[in-house]
Amino acid sequence: MSELRSLLESARYLSREECEALAKRALGFITTADAARVNITSGSRGNTRFAVNQVSTGGDNFDTAVTVTAYAGRRSASSTTNQLDDPGLQQAMATAERLAKLAPEDPEFMAELEPMQYQAGRNWSEATAALDPQGRADAVRAITAPAKQAGLISTGYLDARAGATSVANSKGLFAYSRSTASALTTTVRTPDGSGSGWAGAAHHDWARVDAASLGARAAEKARHSRNPGAIEPGRYTVVFEPTAVGNLVQFIAGALTARAADEGRSFFSKPGGGNKIGAKVVDERVTILSDPFDADVAGAPFTSEGLPTQRSVWIENGIVKTLNYDRYWAQKKSVTPTASGGSLKMNGGTTSLDEMIASTQRGLLVTRFWYLRPVDQRTILYTGLTRDGTFLIERGKITRAVKNLRFNDSPVFMLNNLEALGTPVRVSASEDGGPGQAIVVPPIKVRDFNFTSLSDAV
């Protein structure tokens, strides 16, 4: 094993000093540009997939990419390369300079930032950076072995990343931050194909992910979801587990762009002109924010332009507090640019999932959603289906598994029809099982959620 370990190197990424030197070298190749910026991303990514209770594929890769943006007055262009020797960097700068001169003048030109101060990022974990293929295989075995023993079929994916990002410009700005990310998701199915259960977790700290308990939860869901019965599509009271809430609420975050709102092409546009800042759009118990320095949803401490990120409260007590302003639109509207760092946190309440079920006369329990796609941007209306654990609630108890359902509804309508909220937790709500965006949301109970058809898919 010792020989094996020496081959399977742990995380590789560029240090602060290496990024500084690389950026300096790239900026040194400026010949005609008035200003330039260098963005560096560097890191390793390891993954292990398993299917039918065994590892199916896995991979490890390491890469560094340098993007050079060159300015000629109000004109600019970018060039990216992963060739880090002098000829590679020189070529990248020359290409960016040449293209910049050919670009038309940018009426929305924003000058590069002056040097700034940054807080230290909070999304680095040694446990994640040290996770090697053997460690990943061991974690996978904690799911596949019990599943096999129980006569169930487990499939899943473990993704771990460690890397660094850096921004530097010709005005002397320099920013560097390391980050890690990990996610483990598993789908456990019954051999007859009539039951399927899912569980997943994502965190920048691998130590917070418990493989065995995820496997057990997915297995339990698989067993209980066997032989689902048909119900009529229609409007139902629904208890959403946190993953399902995360699946939908992130689309509100996706619609927060101030400019699109001001231009009249967003849910956040106000009829007659302007945007909905100050307007109540969801239940007053709802607050949604981004905070890159909250340990639960830690994100990058700076943007790709080198702007320090900060906490942004989007919706507070149901009222829109701010929208996402880029530097240009912020200047035009005389506000501070947003730079939120991209994570998402929704507040909760005190009702437990069990209490939500117990208080439901007739409704559904939804584990998660699948293939969510926009239908109408005017209302943030999405369609998609339930998956891997959908149950009927009758007279305060889960009575049976039901077939999956397609819905056509909006997270905005959902958060207006709110009955109860539980304790917020970190979820893995990305579509593809990668670490995705850091999201913390509560389980919720909602009335009148709109299911439009039934699916035979298990």
Partner: protein, 558 residues
């Protein structure tokens, strides 16, 4: 599944909905990756290129061949019973604009290699950007060591179907004009002129893009193959947005009749953006006052720019063999076309008009190659014949799983050539080839189908889309929808989407166009696998009519 990243209306703080990078992004390289459908690539491994660079060193040169041998020897030395190596050099260029402004102009390049190895019957894969003798050997040993670690949970060892080695293969996408040879000023000028025409046509906002890719890849395997291929892909596209005068409504019109293709700059030329922009803008404006659809059952007449996506989701995905066998259960899902021995040659997929074929050789198609990413020369193969399901998409590992069926039907156990890895940093696996609906025998056109329809809806272009993880229940919208009455189009409709159950939908196919009406649609962003990889595919099809499909109205008030 298709993953699209919006870059319109979300620029500087672009929140990539539908992307695997759900975070606020700004750099143009991210947008470049997004439009290329490469959003799933680790950011550091994003495909791309330098327009000023001559392609050197060429991946076909003797140095690469020697390095490939180093990789294969090192993997074998570390106990691999099989190994392959792919060296790739990707160049991409993205231009994106809105109204009279160029938002991004970016030229990208990435080079690197990946080694795949089998030890004790298990796969391992490792990759690196550093193309040197020592690193190639180290990565090959790492791939073998990882395979060894993975073999700990092994239940069924990997066996590969035989392949005829190609010791000296070369292939190149047949293009007329190398897109990297066209001056940036000309490209920018064309997009801004098209935007101006759209604004004149009534659009309040307009976004337009051009994306180009050239990928050179060299493949070598312990079976004795050494293959060098150069692949080109091109897509121009536009989106028009109309806003009502009281700011209470907005509608968009995307140009999905201009599919991404495996062509050169001639594809941009042929798209005639400037000439068509005003019409597209007028259609966006018309959508503002279109009649909301009444829910109910209608006969649908679907054009190829719409139907390609329905074929992609409901036919191409469920006939991927790894899905049917449960290997993709955790993300893409499984398949209703399963288990194989119960459905092969037996399952009625649709009406007898339905003939579906897989290929990687249609001119201009995105999947066209000389060899797949494990050195197999692809073949044309029937997937659905006269409405009956007859075969899956396969790789070398998977063809062996169907050995009994192939032997029974007197066919060789051979891969269909469906192995693909999105970049040097990603392991290759089964991806769909072009999966196309063959034209009917009668020489029918779009107009003939409309004329033969009494009460129906004509849908043009793809819109919203969603399907379950076994590919039964789907919902599709379109770009434009028109009411058909008594064989004539009588007006525009809005908020149209249809819901379907796959076998019933294809069973309701009762009229299809002839050869002359055959077109290729397609996408860059076909996502599958974990980590999610992006595949580029075309789907050929003809205008088709489906009887009595359930149509819903998706319009709601905020």
């Amino acid at each position: 599944m298709i993953v699209r990243t919006r870059i319109d209306a979300s620029e500087s703080t672009g929140y990539c909905v539908g992307s695997t990078r759900r975070q606020f992004v700004k750099t143009t390289s991210v947008a470049a990756a997004a439009i290329a459908g490469l959003a799933a690539v680790p950011s550091a491994a994003r495909a791309a290129a330098h327009s000023a660079l001559p392609l050197s060193p060429s991946l076909g040169d003797p140095d690469i061949k020697a390095l490939a041998q180093v990789a294969l020897d090192a993997a074998r030395g570390a106990g691999a019973t099989y190994a392959d190596v792919r060296f790739a050099h990707n160049r991409t260029q993205l231009l994106f604009t809105r109204e009279q402004r160029v938002q991004g102009l970016t030229d990208n390049e990435t080079r690197g290699f990946g080694v795949r190895a089998i030890v004790n019957g298990a796969w391992g894969f490792a990759a690196s950007r550093e193309i040197s003798r020592d690193e190639v050997a180290r990565v090959a040993r790492q791939a073998a060591a990882q395979a060894r670690a993975n073999s700990g949970t092994l239940v069924r060892p990997v066996v590969l179907a035989p392949v005829t080695p190609t010791p000296d293969g070369t292939w190149r996408t047949p293009i007329e004009i190398d897109p990297f040879s066209i001056a940036i000023e000309d490209k920018v000028g064309l997009l801004l002129a098209a935007n101006a025409a759209a604004l004149k046509g009534g659009a309040r906002f307009v976004n337009s893009n051009m994306f180009f890719l050239r990928e050179e890849k060299s493949f070598a395997s312990t079976d004795g193959s050494f293959i060098v291929q150069t692949i080109y892909r091109t897509q121009p596209s536009m989106t028009m947005t109309a806003v009502s005068s009281d700011m209470s409504d907005f509608q968009t019109r995307a140009t999905n009749e201009i599919a991404p293709m495996g062509r050169g700059y001639e594809h941009v030329r042929d798209a005639r953006l400037v000439e068509n922009a005003a019409r597209w803008a007028e259609e966006a404006v018309q959508k503002l006052s279109a009649k909301p659809v009444e829910v109910g059952r209608y006969d649908l007449v679907l054009d190829p720019w719409h139907l390609w996506l329905t074929i992609h989701e409901s036919v191409a995905h469920p006939t991927e063999l790894d899905r049917a066998m449960g290997y993709e259960a955790n993300y893409a899902g499984t398949s209703f076309v399963a288990p194989p021995d119960a459905v092969l040659g037996k399952l009625k997929f649709g009406s007898s008009l339905m003939n579906i074929r897989g290929d990687r050789d249609q001119p201009g198609s995105l999947s066209a190659v000389g060899w797949d990413d494990e050195g197999v020369r692809p073949e044309r193969f029937d997937i659905v014949k006269n409405g009956i399901f007859v075969d899956y998409q396969t790789t070398r590992e998977q063809a062996v799983w169907l050995a009994d069926y192939y032997k029974k039907s007197n066919r060789a156990v051979r891969s269909h050539g469906c192995s693909y890895g999105q970049s040097w940093a990603d392991v290759q696996f089964q991806r769909m080839p072009n999966v196309s609906l063959l034209p009917g025998e009668k020489d029918l056109s779009w107009d003939d189908l409309i004329a033969a329809t009494d009460k129906g809806i004509a849908i043009m272009g793809d819109g919203s889309f969603s399907i379950d993880q076994q590919r039964y229940n789907a919902q599709f919208g379109g770009q434009l929808a028109y009411e058909i009455k008594g064989g004539k189009i009588v007006g525009m409709l809005k908020d149209v989407a249809y819901q379907m159950r796959t076998p019933e939908f294809w069973g309701a196919l009762d009229m299809i166009g002839g050869q002359k009406s055959y077109r290729l649609g397609g996408a860059f962003g076909d996502a599958k696998g974990q980590p999610s990889q992006s595949n580029a595919i075309s789907h050929g099809c003809v205008p088709s009519r489906f009887r009595g499909v359930n149509v819903i109205n998706t319009g709601r008030k905020a």
